[in-house]
Subunit: 331 residues, 3 copies
Amino acid sequence: MTGNNIQLDEHGRLRHFLTIEGLKKTILTDILDYAENFTTVGHQPVKKLPLLRGKTITNLFFEASTRTRTTFELAAKRLSADVLNINIDTSSAVKGESLLDMLRNFEAMHCDMFVVRHARSGAAHFIAQHVAPHISVINGGDGSHAHPTQAMLDVFTIRRHKQEFQNLTVAIVGDIMHSRVARSQIHALTTLGVPEVRVVGPQTLIPVEAEQLGVHVYNDMQRGLRNADVVIMLRLQRERMQGALLPSAQEFFECYGLTERTLAFAKPDAIVMHPGPINRGVEIESTVADGPQSVILEQVTNGIAVRMAIMAMTLGRHQGKDSDTQFEELD
Amino acid sequence: MTGNNIQLDEHGRLRHFLTIEGLKKTILTDILDYAENFTTVGHQPVKKLPLLRGKTITNLFFEASTRTRTTFELAAKRLSADVLNINIDTSSAVKGESLLDMLRNFEAMHCDMFVVRHARSGAAHFIAQHVAPHISVINGGDGSHAHPTQAMLDVFTIRRHKQEFQNLTVAIVGDIMHSRVARSQIHALTTLGVPEVRVVGPQTLIPVEAEQLGVHVYNDMQRGLRNADVVIMLRLQRERMQGALLPSAQEFFECYGLTERTLAFAKPDAIVMHPGPINRGVEIESTVADGPQSVILEQVTNGIAVRMAIMAMTLGRHQGKDSDTQFEELD
Amino acid sequence: MTGNNIQLDEHGRLRHFLTIEGLKKTILTDILDYAENFTTVGHQPVKKLPLLRGKTITNLFFEASTRTRTTFELAAKRLSADVLNINIDTSSAVKGESLLDMLRNFEAMHCDMFVVRHARSGAAHFIAQHVAPHISVINGGDGSHAHPTQAMLDVFTIRRHKQEFQNLTVAIVGDIMHSRVARSQIHALTTLGVPEVRVVGPQTLIPVEAEQLGVHVYNDMQRGLRNADVVIMLRLQRERMQGALLPSAQEFFECYGLTERTLAFAKPDAIVMHPGPINRGVEIESTVADGPQSVILEQVTNGIAVRMAIMAMTLGRHQGKDSDTQFEELD
């Protein structure tokens, strides 16, 4: 059956990383286990491993994002890869070279990996369908569809704090409808066996198909957070709030903002997560964002390790990636 | 006499690479032979050679070109050089620092090579005339004058398919007048001994001095392609077609577009080339661009090898570049 | 008392480099001595040292400056560090992530150093006050406050030509009021024991507190340059000359431009300096800028060595930076 999943190669190994949907628990667990190896790199005097030396990793960003691009660039450089940053203005891309011709060109230059960020859902998937066999594609966020590396760093962070997934209650709060992060988180959490995944927000911002994803919908913050082990706040995209979906950011904060008061609805040892960048006072109060339960900055740190793991797994399929010697520190 | 050619050093070795014009056949053949060494780099697990380790290569781009900049950046990184990308807005360059002062500054920082792209013909030549003795300049395209690395990758591709130059008929089709690529190709092909170089296009897009370059002019596609071994299509710069030179892109395609029908005028084993990016349906039909005779993507691949060769030859003059050990794969 | 200086760590070693003000002579002399080690790197076949291998240096540029960014990027790469270039549009930075949240994120990614350029005075200082203990901050220019690496390369250049500071007369000419370079130079020169530091310019461009800095104010070029060993010309920021402070650039040049005639007021062996980029014919005549007394391009060369020294000192505090083996050439 692996042959049906474009993300896996003919031996069932991870080749692309486009979406959590359709990946088995064992694959996700492999990524998490493998990422553990990379958590110490950031503390070494020489923060580099030779795993992807001489590989060419191309950041194909059709949507500007210094922040996300930086995390992938750092992960690639710490694996000793060469990095090309290509920012494509989609307006000019339209009139000139077609996307496929552009891909063919990068392939012909022997690029090994594309990290793709695009405003259109499905863009990374489309590219993965059309690249040469030796190339891996990583989805760095596509429209409102998926942001799978973000979801993996989130579940990695949860596992480091809660060890096991099978007894957890995780609440995701905010604009679920427009969030590629939420979509990917839901797939990751349910695949890894979290029994209770909740989405919390105004009904207008909950997608109608939410319940089919196996999550529980709450429109009330108190009930949504009750006994939660993990509270994930989403970033409020203010530009999306202009319309009739919600009256104002202030009203949103009053109903769904995470404050010391609302956090108290969750378990006392609940951790607070956010994909960043945070809007202080919009979806989360500063005392909570900076408080003892917040693991927001750990997510950032773990993001480098998880992206290194995914890059090394997908590109290292043919070179015995598990060899211990490759984890020896460079000097 | 080598002293008269700014591109050669006092020992007759290639120092700059600005234009094909004035370079002897032996130099061009040396580049082609040397480039053969680099064609395998793209297939190695570690796509890097240490030839230019610790050298500083500066991409001075006065004209935006992600595509060309990328090929030079990749070639430099695969030679282990450090790369600086400098994009200069010529409008601001005018009011601020003069070009020569900027060059003096980069020289003082011990840059070793400038790859220059400029909208003005002669820009790279001007820079080469004024740089310090240890610096090499590569022309990455100057106005409508020359694009010599493109021409070298083209003849490299031709040689790989046709082995020898001395019996070939090569047809270059399109807007010859405004094409720096065509100018450089003509010089490369005639220098290497191609007996029949043709330019094919409407008379308004053929420069008046064409015949003096030793080429044959054809205004008719059928006659122009007859018995051709190589068909090189130029990119139609639509913005240049606005004026009175040609009525419309559609009319151009009808007369000079490469289709399965017109390609049949050439020899059955003719190869089809294009410097890219292609305008599908404007100067070339998709079935031809993607067809069995097309070597367009091979050109892109060869472009990395040829640029590596030129960079390594010009910068490696003093360090025994031919040492076999330097071609050993890194690990 | 070192505990009071944010630039020093608890052992009195240089941790940040934000301003010359408050640094003792021994620290400045240490930097100059250490920088001597790096002057030969630019002449080596492999212009790299492994001192900062695996470190991540982030150029945080809130104000565009290709020139300054390039010198830091080159210095970092020649120390084998990984470099991230982050250009922050302050207008968008305002509406989005706060500066401190941005810093926290880069810290969480295990960045080791921020090179900060900002239009607001005090920006680098502010950042240094808030970064994690392992991070060093270098001020790449903040408003009209300080540009300390520029001042250090200037005094380094002076020492190479004049050996000792204690008998020198140094004249700084131009718009002292708005110049972060002049402010830092004054602190460096007086700290290193230059007995006579002069500022020369129209009274409207001399800050009222000038005399408190221990400098002598001259409004007359002839008297200001008399017997000077060093003449430092500042760049005239023409955009600042629009107002009532000065009638015109031409009038400025007549009174305070450095020409062969006015340079003759100084000692015959006086050296001429300028932080660049120079405005030929505005603050300095070409024959002087390019003349035998000019050391302007040496300043650029020395700027790489001095920045390498400051980066290696601040980041290398914990790793025995003085080990001779680290200065061995790479091959």
